[in-house]
């Protein structure tokens, strides 16, 4: 009997947690299906209206922005390119760098180790102004390279891969060496297949991280052609229900990725704990 009471309490507390997490999003979603006129007179809505298709298609295809030069669809495209670029680049460079650090005798190893990992202390927010100046010297303002490169300059993924490699038994390399495998073959044929889960987890993490960037695209894009979704939210002009619809749409890509790949993601993070 007491067991049922305590289980009921568990479910009750969890339900309150669910309400806190879901009700705000639901209210914005429900409100996004009403007309602006209705919202302006009646406030935020809890029940669905019938302007869903109208509002969402208008937002996706309408020219918006300060100079009306970009559609939401284009912003999604930009965000997608940026996030994929950041995830791909940081997975490849980190995978390689971690391999170089763990599997080789490197001259000045300690120095290189610190050169890479001390960068964890300096997030992009701390070097935002000088980064902008460097990017404009390199003529990378208003380019995808400018959006991608400084955010890929992060050692966080290297840290994860390094921990993972260290947990792989030494016997694997001994066996491979007996077979006369060279370092490049060992990396491609053994380590990469072994790190699949880890690679997927880091890729997801970096994709969401890249998609959610706000400050950097805000600074790096003076041309509306390069606006991304998350920064476009604040600057986009439109009626209130357009803005609600855009808020909801902006969450869809990262949320879908996290929901469907959560197992992989959590597995990857805890594999090396």
């Amino acid at each position: 009997m007491t067991k049922y009471i305590s289980l009921t309490i568990n479910h009750f507390i969890l339900s309150i947690g669910l309400l806190i997490m879901i009700v705000p999003i639901w209210i914005i979603f429900a409100s996004s299906t009403h007309s602006s006129l209705f919202i302006n007179t009646n406030g935020l809505q809890f029940f669905l209206g019938d302007n869903f298709i109208d509002n969402y298609s208008r937002v996706l295809f309408k020219q918006s922005g300060f100079f009306n030069e970009i559609t939401a669809l284009k912003m999604f495209f930009n965000s997608f390119v940026m996030a994929t670029g950041i995830a791909t680049l940081s997975v490849i460079t980190s995978l390689m760098a971690a391999y170089g650090l763990v599997y080789f005798k490197v001259k000045y190893a300690t120095f290189i180790f610190w050169l890479i990992f001390i960068t964890l202390l300096v997030p992009l927010e701390l070097r935002i102004m000088p980064s902008y100046i460097v990017m404009s010297k390199l003529n990378l303002v208003n380019t995808f390279a400018g959006l991608i490169l400084p955010i890929s300059a992060s050692a966080i993924a290297t840290f994860f891969f390094r921990q993972f490699y260290k947990s792989i038994p030494d016997e694997l390399l001994e066996a491979a060496k007996l077979d006369g495998t060279n370092s490049l073959r060992f990396f491609i044929d053994f380590l990469i297949p072994l790190s699949k889960t880890m690679i997927a987890a880091v890729f997801i993490f970096m994709f969401v991280f890249g998609y959610n960037q706000y400050l950097w695209p805000l600074i790096m894009t003076t041309s509306e052609q390069y606006w991304t979704v998350v920064m476009g939210l604040k600057t986009m002009y439109g009626s209130i229900s357009d803005r609600f619809a855009f808020v909801i749409m902006s969450m869809i890509p990262p949320v879908i990725i996290i929901i469907f790949l959560q197992k992989l993601f959590i597995q990857g993070i805890f594999q090396n704990k």
């Binding site: 997490m21 170089g100 763990v102 599997y103 080789f104 102004m129 000088p130 998350v230």
Partner: protein, 292 residues
């Protein structure tokens, strides 16, 4: 490092080169620039600059609004860490106990983790707007809520906006931490200690220390850096500069005020703070927690 390694003269550099190159150009160059800025004084029109020693640092220390930002950042990270940590832990403990619907709870509670802080800020904006805002109305009826004049009300606004999504992160990691505790330890402790609550604080919670500690660092980093998008879409630092975080202030002074010297000095102060937190993490806390 591995005991068995490849012996090679060049190929390691082939593997290290891409990352080192990107770090040198896009990280070290700006950092060096930051140090240069911090120690130079530029005239108001950007025509000339000269070495200024520690003048920029003295300037920010004599600036009351720097201390306001410092105070707010400390309060903000402490409150966010405490709120999101305790709610996340509470929910994770419940989710770890239930048999039915565990994965449904998990999926639905993890979801907000993926939403960008700036998007959360824009949403919070609607809930706190005078016109539509449900929370604005609720608090207004309770005590006359007015965030652009009362500091306390503005704190509530940015704390709610800042905590909401971070509950998810705390929940995920606490749940994973709880699941990693071995069943036999829990079973043995049930025999020794009948009280659920006492058992939690004496057995389970100490075993969760590594997770708790990890989350404290994650939450502090979040409150320091990731909340930029929240502040910029909610209060923009109002009233006055009472809700400016250190990062937000450095951005405003550097990018909007074009005071590179001050922004550089502020960045270096923040690097020192991050360094202190990291050293604290390794030296002090890591030695004191139990690993299973």
């Amino acid at each position: 490092m591995k005991k068995v390694q490849f012996k090679s003269n060049y190929s390691q550099y082939f593997f290290l080169a891409p990352q080192l190159l990107i770090l040198l150009i896009f990280l070290y160059w700006p950092i060096i620039q930051t140090f240069k800025d911090a120690f130079t004084m530029q005239d108001a029109f950007g025509f000339g600059s000269q070495f200024a020693g520690f003048d920029n640092f003295l300037f920010i220390f004599s600036d009351p609004s720097y201390f306001t930002a410092f105070k707010f950042t400390i309060i903000y990270s402490f409150v966010i860490t405490f709120i999101t940590g305790s709610i996340g832990l509470l929910l994770a403990v419940q989710a770890n106990k239930v048999m039915h619907g565990k994965s449904a709870y998990k999926t639905l509670l993890i979801w907000p983790y993926a939403i960008a802080p700036a998007v959360v800020g824009v949403m919070a904006n609607y809930f706190f707007s005078e016109r539509y805002g449900l929370l604005h109305h609720l608090f207004n009826n309770l005590w006359g809520f007015n965030w652009y004049e009362n500091v306390f009300d503005a704190y509530i606004y940015v704390i709610i906006a800042g905590s909401w999504k971070q509950i998810s992160a705390n929940f995920i990691f606490f749940l994973a931490g709880l699941q990693a505790i071995q069943k036999t330890v829990i079973e043995a402790s049930i025999i020794d200690c009948k009280s659920n609550i006492r058992r939690f604080w004496t057995i389970t919670f100490p075993l969760l220390m590594p997770t708790t500690f990890f989350l404290i660092i994650i939450n502090i980093t979040y409150a320091f850096f990731d909340t930029f998008g929240i502040i910029d879409t909610t209060t923009i630092g109002a009233p006055g500069s009472e809700t400016k975080t250190l990062v937000y202030k450095a951005y405003i002074d550097g990018f909007k005020g074009l005071d590179l010297g001050s922004a550089g000095a502020q960045s270096i102060m923040m690097m020192i703070i991050v360094l202190v937190i990291t050293i604290f993490q390794f030296r002090y806390i890591e030695g004191k927690i139990h690993y299973n």
